[in-house]
Point group: C2
Chain length 398, copies 2
């Protein structure tokens, strides 16, 4: 059969066609009324998408750029910070804090686990300026308990910075209600456009704390971006084509919510939740072990391969027989897990397709008789039926 | 008549259609053999485009990001540096060096002038670590004497960092021959793709100097990008769609050189030179004063409006009657000059079209009888005929 190339990776995720078209025809200048109107609309829509009343800034960089902005703007050399880490992106917080000379304390959990709250409580001391964590750790597929971590940070008087690059649009996050001071997102995730834009929402407490930071900063000076954004501009030349794509993607999400962007965002979260539930049920039906069974993220599902099988073989077979790009483990997890993404632009057909392929791939690396073809697909359908029913009631009760 | 919207701004410049198409269909993952091959080819092609044997790094940011990378990686707080400034982008070097706590000395020239070499010589002292300058100052349309500045920096033992964001692809720059240690470019200029990528080539002397810098750096750590680039990867998630566009643009430039990328780059420089020459001759034929007559850049032509006319009126009329977006002056030059770009994807028809429009626009703000319609166009044609003849001889003598 034909093999269409399809991404099932937790970023980049499949491009939204209308956004790709907007990007290709964005032959406009950024210091014009047209672009200012677009930029202002995008900033305002991002606030709704994030679910915050705090100012949002957008920058031309990968998500790591926004992570660096948080560290550079909120800390000073020698200050105590707390990094909560249970995977590769938690380790990036640690590397960043060390690069900026922070006195970096940490709470670690095993890969695949959520951050344990008791350990956080034990590490928090009054001089701890900032706590850094991920909403969902894309390297393991685990979700961290942000509501509870936010309460602990708040009680301790610390700022909380959440990398929600794969959390936004897949996970309910009550940013202002919980008191998340900085929340960070990236373009190539639930927003369904290519990488190259990062964004964050920043609380009043955090804006005030920035004034005290002694770190050098220029390109990532969030205050500069905020001031420019208030005039519908970016501090430096914006990634125009990506901003146009982002505008189209936010319009698409709004349309998915029948004109209500927040409802569209909730539908997107429900979509990821359903796809994740279907995939987890399918993996279990195949007798496969989930890598993060206790606190699974909706952004992606990390699956442990059958005994003595390198996950690279599975990733390769997905690509070679079915054109589907799933992710191997990263760093020390390479060969030990494979990861199927649900974040962004996936529908029922995509999800059932990849689960069908999963049956063939697993059948090939185990003894075929261990796989009962159709069982994983049926398990996924049952999840779908329950989810569709609950979504219908949700709509009916509005 | 219809008004097609066209950019005549010195960045963003008009999108190359094949690059826009490549961007819109770049639905690929960055940790794959296909993307690695693309990334490696782009890095290698950029070396040819720049004309250097030095390693090139690419980053997801605006050009200012690469400028910050040069400051963050090559200086330490309190160190003496020399900024050469005669416009808005020279002032950005100064702001960056100050943000990083450098002891920032400067040589300034009037807006529209080139940096005076005698003043540079007078300011260079043995402890001056780095000299920062623009190849062409896009805010004024002036070109700085990089060959001579490089000789002075070299004799003094200083590193030379050149922002060639509008210089590359418009201006002959013998990067290695002159000894430019860091040369910086951006995607939205001669490379004819949208903003969002910056790149730089770095000399062995500069790589060594980086080891001594005491500044914090993570996202803009050039050493990290170099190491990743050698494996065909980026240190952080790359702006995939823009990288795909860049690959297509470099292929287009190669094709313009009949399969020889360096020849294609030279053809692009000759193209900008011809368009600039045509535009300058046209402005003179209309009795207009050039803002940088002594050392004009090929990237753009800055023109002084007729007496008592705000250049904003001219910019507006270009847009409203002809759909052509030309640039006003920036900062303190706003209202005092207008700028027509020649960098990147412009041909004879574009150039004649904008010059024809210029005659109408100038006729409107002066007394019509002061404009002899067709005279500026004829002056441009004479320049074109001379340039085409010399280009033909060039090809014949190869």
């Amino acid at each position: 059969m034909l093999r269409k190339s399809r991404l099932f990776t937790p970023g980049p995720t499949p491009l939204l066609p209308v956004a790709a078209q907007a990007m290709a025809s964005a032959d406009i200048h950024h210091r014009t009324a047209d672009f200012r109107a677009l930029y202002q609309r995008v900033l305002s829509d991002l606030r709704v998408f994030i679910g915050t009343g705090n100012p949002v800034v957008l920058m031309a960089s990968s998500g790591t750029g926004a992570m660096e902005a948080a560290v550079a703007n909120l800390t000073s050399p020698g200050e105590k910070v707390l990094v909560l880490t249970a995977g590769k992106f938690g380790e990036r917080w640690r590397a960043l804090c060390k690069a900026y000379g922070c006195d970096t304390q940490q709470v670690t959990a095993e890969y695949g686990q959520a951050i344990p709250l008791e350990a956080v409580r034990g590490k928090l001391t009054p001089e701890m300026r900032v706590v850094f964590v991920q909403a969902t750790e894309s390297s393991t597929g685990a979700r961290h308990p942000i509501a509870q971590i936010a309460r602990l940070a708040r009680e301790n008087g610390s700022l909380l910075v959440v990398d929600a690059i794969t959390g936004l649009g897949t996970t309910e996050l009550d940013v202002d209600g919980w008191g998340v001071d900085v929340i960070i997102g990236g373009s190539q995730k639930a927003l369904m456009i290519p990488p190259g834009l990062a964004y964050c929402a920043v609380s009043e407490r955090a804006w005030q704390a920035m004034e005290k930071s002694k770190n050098p900063r220029f390109y990532f000076d969030l205050r500069k971006e905020r001031a420019a954004g208030e005039k519908g501009e970016s501090a430096f030349t914006p990634a125009i084509a990506l901003v146009a794509a982002l505008g189209a993607a936010l319009d698409y999400i709004r349309a998915a919510g029948s004109g209500d962007l927040a409802a569209g965002r909730d539908a997107l979260i429900h979509n990821a939740e359903t796809a994740a539930g279907m995939t987890r049920a399918a993996a279990r039906a195949l007798g496969l072990q989930l890598f993060a069974p206790d606190a699974p993220s909706n952004a992606l599902t990390a699956v442990v391969p059958p005994a003595n099988v390198d996950s690279g073989v599975i990733v390769k077979d997905f690509r070679e027989r079915f054109g589907a790009v799933v992710a191997n483990g990263q760093g020390e997890m390479k060969g030990k897990i494979f990861r199927i993404a649900h974040i962004g632009y996936y529908d029922y057909l995509d999800t059932m397709g990849i689960i069908g392929a999963l049956e063939h791939v697993i059948a090939k690396v185990t003894s075929p008789k261990h796989v009962e073809f159709g069982a994983a697909l049926r398990a996924a359908q049952e999840v779908y039926i329950r989810a569709a029913t609950s979504a219908q009631s949700l709509v009916a009760s509005r």
